[in-house]
């Protein structure tokens, strides 16, 4: 999930309100314009490659005037500028600020930022980046606010700043213990200069109050459990109309003609609006179609059912995923473009005592967020206001500016809670739809509602892939040669005309960074074209790459007659820093500097060892049960999983227990790490067992949850145990939201083999065990 769409300049101009610290960071008025080079940015020489947050549009901002406000009663309001979609960011980010601020968490409120990267820094909530990129700036932000409070207290007391110390929502005069509350210092503190980034005094991690401690409830828990939480679908604006849209059933299709006579007879329907088809490449633009605007959602849905539309289905009407699979398989059998090469593969293969080959298939997947996409837009006197659940509020803003020919300062994107994101809501096509329909309605507020059918049929799907692996083993069973040919349409097809190969940032997701210690290897990528919209799906290319590689590792262990866990440790080899930059061109390390976030096989090994111990690898199991293991580094984090599968004589599968271990470096909010891994386990099982989007005649064949079902509670593991590798707070932080998914499917498939002797190479498992 990298930044393909570069925006604006890298120079950060901040609209900050000096009164903000007092009146609330979201208050308007009293705006002063100041320029600031964010910390870290200044040290990057011009032209040097930018890594981490510096490589993202608008980088980071650490200015407390943008993020923190303190009311006279002492209530501290902290702005969360990243989108909440279940990962816990509205708890985690403010927690970090509050910790450095020495704020009492019970007196902290959280406010959600609008889409405004000039003010807040990058807001693209994807790529498992929020905690990784913003822990440092948020600590600085809290520390700066704390120092401003201390400076205000020192000034009022007429003492040197070293005489006072902020502690738990008060500044204390060390000599007497006299305490001044944050509320009574707020006005004076807001007049203090913001300390320069290099003058900030960050806490010693031993003094953290919240970071890494746990025991903090999610901030939206009360609203969620009482029905008060407002998601994009729940937005209500006075005078609002509701719209649903009939979109082209085939990507790139167009409306030839339509008849809305029956639609207009449906009570409650008010207007029908044609949305133009976009030029190719489609990027995040709406696919066009016909919108039905009504006084409620039901009338709009009924009105849409009554539409008669003649479509020109366009160039992709022959897309058939079954035939496409055969084509991918054929390509996988031929040499592909070499992405990484080491040693002499062909020579080593010729000398191998044993050869193993396998081909894996992973179908298209849909995000199927519980909340289908939705956006509401109102246009008044040239001012565009949008309320939506979106992972990329700045992109939504910029697309609205363009689509509605508005000026940037006249467009506001309010970020609501997201009922799931998983990458779908990084692509704000639905926001543009709402803008276009509102404009056609003269600016009337319009909520565009996607139904589940819309969501499954008009998504940005996970790619489809065939992964072909071949290995040569020596007489002892050790792997001497490894060939992997990955064939999958690229996400870049959404952004540019007809690319044929995986981008470096797709290949970097588990393909070329394959960590095994094998002397002779060749990693290839065959050509593939895309015939539908392909997009990021949680964990992205790691899903297919890790599935194939880790399932194949299980096959090699069996071929060598060795224990899976021992064999995977043999494959990983000795603890070392693996630098693939010489052997893999344009190596992409999740946008990070590979020197800061190297591929550390020592961490992989230790994690497998921790997991094997905690997960009781080798434990005695009942008949029909088996254990499988997989380990994968993604989003600069290491995750390993042991799955226990149980298959009865009829082929019914259950998963009694899963153990997951994560090494994501230092931990900010352990409870949300656990919840992310528990959830990733369910999503991974869905990928393994049930989920498949297929195409015929260019159209998606699944419409709703009856045809694209999710893992349900009765199919969930009997028990999921999460094990977190402990670290001091002295090393780079890794991602958490995505890396939990990739190891689950291969660990399950390896477990099924252990339980039954059957090798599943094509996902989903579906009824293959019943055959």
């Amino acid at each position: 999930m990298t930044a393909h769409v570069q925006r604006h300049s890298d120079f950060v101009i901040q609209n900050v309100s000096r009164r903000g610290l007092l009146k609330g960071a979201l208050a308007t008025g009293g705006i002063v314009l100041c320029a600031q080079i964010p910390l870290g940015r200044a040290s990057v020489a011009a032209g040097a490659p930018k890594f981490g947050a510096d490589g993202m549009p608008h980088g980071t901002v650490n200015n407390p005037l943008a993020f923190v406000s303190i009311a006279p009663d002492g209530t501290v309001t902290i702005v969360c500028h990243r989108s909440e979609m279940g990962q816990g960011v509205r708890t985690g980010m403010p927690m970090i600020v509050a910790d450095e601020l020495e704020a009492d968490w019970s007196r902290v409120k959280v406010a959600q930022a609008t889409g405004d990267e000039m003010k807040y820094g990058n807001q693209d909530t994807d790529g498992s980046r929020s905690t990784r990129h913003f822990t440092r700036p948020m600590r600085e932000c809290g520390a700066a606010a704390r120092m401003m409070l201390e400076a205000a207290a020192a000034k009022r007391l007429g003492v040197d700043i070293t005489e006072v110390e902020a502690r738990n929502h008060e500044v204390i005069l060390k000599s007497s213990g006299k305490a001044l509350g944050y509320g009574e210092l707020a006005v004076e503190a807001s007049a203090m200069p913001v300390p320069a980034s290099d003058k900030l005094r960050l806490k010693d991690p031993s003094r953290f109050r919240y970071i890494g401690k746990g025991g903090i409830d999610i901030v939206d828990g009360f609203n969620i459990t009482t029905g008060r939480a407002v998601y994009g679908q729940d937005v209500r604006v006075p005078g609002m109309k509701y719209a649903v849209i009939a979109r082209p059933p085939v990507m790139g299709g167009k409306v030839v003609s339509f008849d809305a006579a029956e639609t207009m007879k449906v009570p409650g329907v008010e207007k029908v609006v044609e949305i133009p088809a976009p030029p190719s490449p489609f990027v995040f633009l709406p696919m066009g179609g016909v919108a039905v605007v009504a006084k409620n959602t039901w009338a709009a849905i009924k009105g849409r059912e009554a539409l008669h539309i003649t479509w020109d289905e366009g160039a992709h009407a022959s897309y058939d995923s079954k035939a496409f699979r055969s084509a991918l398989e054929e390509t996988a059998g031929k040499p592909g473009e070499v992405f990484r090469q080491e040693g002499d593969l062909d020579g080593a293969m010729a000398k191998a005592a044993k050869k193993v080959e396998a081909q894996y298939y992973i179908p298209h997947l849909a995000h199927a967020t519980m909340e289908p996409p939705s956006a509401t837009v109102r246009i008044t006197d040239g001012k565009v206001e949008c309320w939506t659940s979106v992972q990329s509020p700045q992109a939504a803003h910029d697309l609205l500016v363009k689509a509605l020919e508005a000026t940037p300062e006249n467009v506001t994107v309010n970020v609501m809670l997201l009922g799931g994101g998983f990458g779908r809501k990084s692509k704000p096509d639905y926001v543009v739809e709402a803008g276009l329909v509102s404009k056609a309605m003269g600016g009337t507020p319009v909520k565009v509602v996607w139904t589940r059918e819309d969501d499954l049929r008009n998504g940005f799907y996970h790619t489809v892939s065939v992964e072909r692996l071949e290995a040569g083993l020596d007489a002892t069973g050790k792997a001497m040669a490894w060939r992997h040919n990955s064939v999958a349409p690229t996400i870049m097809s959404t952004f540019k005309p007809d690319p044929k190969h995986e981008a470096n940032w797709e290949a970097g997701m588990g393909l070329v960074d394959m960590p095994f210690d094998i002397a002779n290897l060749r990693i290839e990528n065959g050509e593939a074209q895309s015939h539908t919209r392909i997009g990021w799906f949680r964990s992205v290319s790691n899903i297919s790459h890790a599935f194939a590689i880790q399932a194949f590792a299980g096959e090699l262990a069996a071929a060598a007659g060795k224990d899976q866990k021992d064999y995977i440790l043999d494959l990983i080899g000795p603890a070392r820093i693996l630098d693939v930059r010489a052997a893999a061109k344009d190596f992409w390390d999740y946008g990070e500097n590979p020197d800061t976030y190297p591929i550390d096989t020592g961490r992989l090994r230790k994690l497998v060892e921790l997991l094997a111990e905690k997960g009781e690898w080798g434990r005695k199991l009942p008949k029909g049960h088996g254990l499988g293991i997989a380990v994968h580094r993604s989003f600069v984090t290491y995750v390993a999983a042991i799955v226990e599968a149980a298959v009865d004589e009829k082929g019914n599968l259950t998963v009694p227990r899963v153990d997951v271990a994560i090494d994501c470096g230092p931990v900010v909010n352990p409870d949300r790490i656990r919840s992310q891994l528990e959830g990733a386990c369910i999503m991974g099982l869905g990928v393994a067992l049930k989920n498949e989007i297929s195409f015929k005649g260019g159209k998606v064949q699944q419409a709703n949850f009856d045809e694209y079902d999710m893992v349900r509670i009765n199919e969930a593991p009997g028990e999921t145990r999460v094990h977190i590798m402990p670290h001091e707070f002295n090393m780079p932080i890794g991602g958490v939201g995505e890396p939990g998914v990739p190891p689950i499917a291969p660990a399950l498939i390896n477990a099924i083999f252990a339980a039954t002797g059957k090798r599943i190479r094509s996902l989903p498992v579906g009824n293959q065990l019943r055959a």
Binding site: E84, M85, G86, Q87, G88, D217, I218, D220, G221, F222, I224, T225, T226, G227, R228, A229, V230, Y231, Q233, D234, R236, P267, N296, T297, W298, I301, A368, T369, M370, E371, P372, L417, L418, G419, G420, G421, F422, V449, R452, D671, S675, Q676, E678, G679, A680, C681, I682, M683, N704, F705, D706, D709, M710, V711, R712, I713, N714, A716, P717, T720
Partner: protein, 149 residues
Amino acid sequence: MFTLRVNGETHSFDGDPSMPLLWYLRDELGLTGTKFGCGIAACGACTIHLEGDAVRACQTTVGDAAGKSVTTIEGLDPEGKHPVQRAWRAVNVPQCGYCQAGQIMQAVALLKQSPKPSDADIDEAMSGNICRCGTYQRIRVAIKQAAGA
């Protein structure tokens, strides 16, 4: 024209009685705690109580509720103190939270029928409610906690 009670308040309705209760609650009454997830009773996000029984609001028409009493998440306990709501927060069940109103309404109905549900009871009663974030393990724990186990 007929009346129905929603969260204790009487409403009169003179529209099309075949309108799904879901859209009446959300769009007409502004009770958006009841969520739209699928529209075909396959996900449980719109679970409400009709005369105390858990039903899917997307497959219940306003006419079905004529003269009857409807409870939504907003009316379960306006202060959020129902034991199920408390347990949900104590365990930090929600991730995105979108499905949780439906999960809670389903769990409340389960506990009314089986005050001390077994693991199998829970899995059976809750299997119509999808959570895409995968919070099932915590849902099980929270239900047991609410049951006082």
